[in-house]
């Protein structure tokens, strides 16, 4: 590792120590744990954008899928659901969805049996329409029934590690679909398309109460290591119990992060990485050399998304809460972009650094703004203009402003980030 990287991480360590000293070790642990999860997600974005040149603004949606996976996999089984007619109705709805999908596939392939092209388009539209309606006739009563009788489908009661893995897999699958559909678009159109898809995912997850409990939220999502409560039962005081508990979780996330970085760096350095960079830097040349550009791009998109799904699952797990209503593009898409832009794109260490640094600054900016506002409020009171009302809410808004400003500043003055890509020269 170069000196620049070492210095940057040293600076990060200093920041953590400062936070620990001013706000307590427990808070520092908490921030470290959450920012390590965000660092994982940022690593995923770095794969997609830094290595692949793909503008993915669907991060929020992918993280939601991760959160949903861990919730549906590792929450306890809802006996009421399995005892009712719920599974049967749901089964019928799934059957309808499959039938509809078959219908659509048949329509798409109908040209093979000689159906003329314009008719094929109409058949496709008809198939989508009929399939959709059919699905709706089955799912609507099923959803209503489930919500009324047992609340939601519940989980599968599996260990939380399975949930993390499932988060990665499902996010990867979603990314495959999104990628196959939209990776042919020009970068700014791709960005807009991914924003749109992220919102579609959010609308679905938020409103499918029967599957995700929607705005009623799922809690408590389990931990992979003992909770602070477990330590408290053994007689440890509350403060220390949090340090132990969160510290253990942090160890888990750091382990996952480190393994991921190692794997990514090895891939980047090897022949696969060189090919990826070739595709990124010059599609046309790469294509003319026989590389299947689109397939490679889908590949990169999926790999990055797997990390995002795992990150989303870890986050819900750590917070012990899956709240579909709590996801915001600001916090879950744009924030990650700032992490990669500021930290350095095309550089794993940069993305991870950005993840830690930006999250900690983001988290600290709220209390810091509140303090600043309080001072200003004192000033205005002293000047006779009265105190500033709602300081806490306004402080929260200040950091949105600063996030936007930092984005612009980075683009204007440091487009390559703190730790830019290291182009390895083969001499």
């Amino acid at each position: 590792m170069s000196r620049r990287v070492a210095l940057a991480y040293l600076g990060l360590a200093v920041l953590v120590v400062v936070i620990a000293m001013t706000r307590g070790v427990s808070t520092a642990m908490l921030l470290a744990a959450i920012s390590s999860i965000y660092a994982l997600v940022a690593l995923g974005l770095n794969i997609q954008f830094g290595y692949g040149g793909l503008f993915n603004l669907a991060i929020m949606g992918l993280m939601m899928i991760g959160g949903m996976a861990v919730s549906n996999i590792s929450m306890p089984v809802n006996a009421a659901f399995w005892a009712s007619d719920g599974p049967l109705l749901l089964g019928r709805a799934i059957g309808a969805a499959l039938a509809g999908t078959c219908l659509v596939i048949v329509a798409h392939q109908s040209w093979r049996v000689g159906v003329p092209r314009p008719l094929v388009t109409w058949l496709k539209v008809l198939a989508w329409f009929v399939g959709y309606i059919f699905y709706r006739t089955q799912i609507d009563p099923a959803a209503a029934y489930i919500e009324k009788t047992s609340g939601w489908v519940g989980g599968l009661g599996l260990p939380v590690w399975a949930g993390y893995a499932a988060g990665g897999v499902l996010a990867g699958l979603a990314a495959y679909v999104i990628g196959k559909i939209s990776l042919g678009l020009r970068s700014d159109y791709l960005a807009i398309a991914t924003i749109g898809m992220s919102e579609i995912i959010r609308a679905f997850v938020k409103n499918m109460d029967w599957l995700t409990r929607g705005t009623l939220t799922v809690t408590p999502v389990p931990w992979p290591v003992p909770l602070p409560g477990a330590y408290q039962e053994q007689g440890v005081d509350i403060g220390t119990s949090f340090v132990y508990g969160q510290g253990a979780f942090l160890a888990v996330t750091l382990a996952i992060l480190i393994v991921s970085v190692i794997l990514v760096e090895r891939a980047y350095g090897g022949p696969w990485g060189r090919m990826m960079r070739a595709v990124r830097d010059n599609h046309i040349a790469a294509a003319s050399m026989g590389k299947d550009v689109k397939a490679r791009q889908v590949e990169i998109f999926v790999f990055g998304s797997v990390l995002m799904g795992i990150g989303g699952a870890l986050l819900s797990s750590f917070n012990q809460l899956f709240d579909p209503g709590g996801y915001q593009p600001i916090n879950h898409t744009f924030l990650i972009w700032v992490m990669v832009i500021v930290g350095g794109m095309g550089n794993s260490y940069g993305a991870v650094l950005g993840g830690f640094l930006v999250y900690m600054l983001w988290a600290m900016s709220e209390p810091v703004s509140a303090v600043i506002f309080a001072q200003v409020s004192n000033l205005t009171s002293w000047m006779g203009l009265g105190a500033i009302p709602d300081i806490d809410a306004r402080a929260a808004q200040m950091r949105v402003f600063f996030l936007g400003f930092v984005i612009w500043l980075s683009l204007r003055f440091a487009p390559k980030g703190l730790l830019p890509e290291v182009i390895r020269r083969h001499v």
Binding site: D140, E199, W337, I407, W408, L411
Partner: protein, 334 residues
């Protein structure tokens, strides 16, 4: 008959109102895309900003004791539009122009506009808080009920004063825009620059002036759209994010850079939303006796449940981007 009136109220009136708002927003977005070649994500927040400027002016007018036969929100519109136009010019000068000078790619400008979105959002909420406000604190909203008993309807067609104003203003604006683009030197210069920016520069067209005019028009229209929306419903700080994607959808559907396309696209998306959410069961009811059981008792026969209303625009956007990125009127594309 009642069902038809219900349909008119819920689809025709609502669709026209929504379509007008989307159309005004989409025209701004498409002009910026045509002249400056980037997707201005902060347009929704510009609409919010414009609406808040109008709100402040209304408060000022009311405090000065000014009462007018037209809603104050409409009366302050010229001033609010001018101020928003100035703000738009300021945004370009401060944030986008420096990046353009650096030779930034369209995607960089898009991300910069996301930054601007966040800044505007933070600032607006900072000053105005996150609560909902109304433009009708100082006066009442006129509601016009058209009695339909003469054709057998028991309920009236309901249109509010602001809605009538909106339609009237959109018609006037579209006409004014058309005349500007086809009759005036600057308007034609804008069309030329949108068509071929390099040739425009070579021909001696004052490209800096055209850029300024573009932002002025975009800012003014965004203010009108935002204010009219707030007059129709209420003024919320997150007016913006819910609007930006349908507005983009409208602009893309109509063909980016095509002004008339944006207007058509706006109405298309507006009507698509209201039609998709409309509960067609209403039409089934009169024929209950003649239909099979499962259809007759169906309730909630809307294509898309109301909670998913926003997804309609997103789905349209994604479909158009994939199937026909040039839009209806063959605008700019990949």
């Amino acid at each position: 008959m009642d069902e038809l009136i219900f349909f008119i109220n819920k689809v025709i009136v609502a669709g026209t109102v929504l379509g007008s708002i989307y159309a005004l927003g989409a025209v701004g977005v498409t002009l910026i895309f045509g002249i400056l070649r980037f997707a201005h994500f902060a347009h929704g927040d510009m609409m919010t900003l414009g609406a808040f400027i109008a709100y402040v002016l209304v408060g000022a007018f009311a405090a000065l004791g000014i009462h007018l036969p037209i809603p104050l929100g409409v009366a302050v519109l010229p001033f609010a539009m001018a101020l928003t136009a100035v703000a738009a010019l300021g945004l370009d000068r401060g944030f986008y122009a420096p990046l353009r000078r650096m030779g930034a790619q369209p995607i960089t400008l898009l991300i910069a506009s996301i930054g601007v979105t966040l800044m505007l959002q933070g600032l607006v909420r900072l000053f105005f808080g996150t609560g909902t406000r109304t433009f009708f604190e100082f006066e009442t909203k006129d509601i016009f009920r058209f009695d339909m008993s003469w054709i057998g309807g028991s309920r009236p067609i309901t249109v509010t004063g602001p809605q009538l104003w909106m339609v009237a203003l959109v018609v006037v604006t579209v006409l004014a825009l058309h005349l500007f683009l086809t009759r005036s030197r600057l308007g034609k210069g804008m069309r030329a620059m949108s068509d071929n920016p390099d040739l425009a520069q070579v021909s001696g067209i004052n490209t800096a002036l055209v850029v300024r005019v573009t932002w002025t028009i975009a800012g003014a229209l965004a203010c009108m759209a935002g204010t009219m929306l707030a007059l129709d419903v209420s003024l919320k700080p997150d007016l913006a994010f819910n609007i930006i994607l349908p507005v983009f959808a409208a602009a893309v559907v109509g063909g980016l850079g095509q002004t008339y396309g944006a207007i058509a696209g706006g109405f298309l998306v507006g009507f698509a939303e209201t039609l998709a959410v409309f509960d067609w069961a209403v039409f089934v009811r009169p024929f209950r006796e003649h239909l099979p059981d499962w259809l007759a008792t169906a309730s909630g026969l809307s294509l898309v449940p109301t909670e998913y209303k926003l997804t309609v625009a997103f789905v349209i956007l994604v479909i158009v981007l994939l199937a026909r990125p040039t839009g209806i009127f063959k605008g700019l594309s990949t």
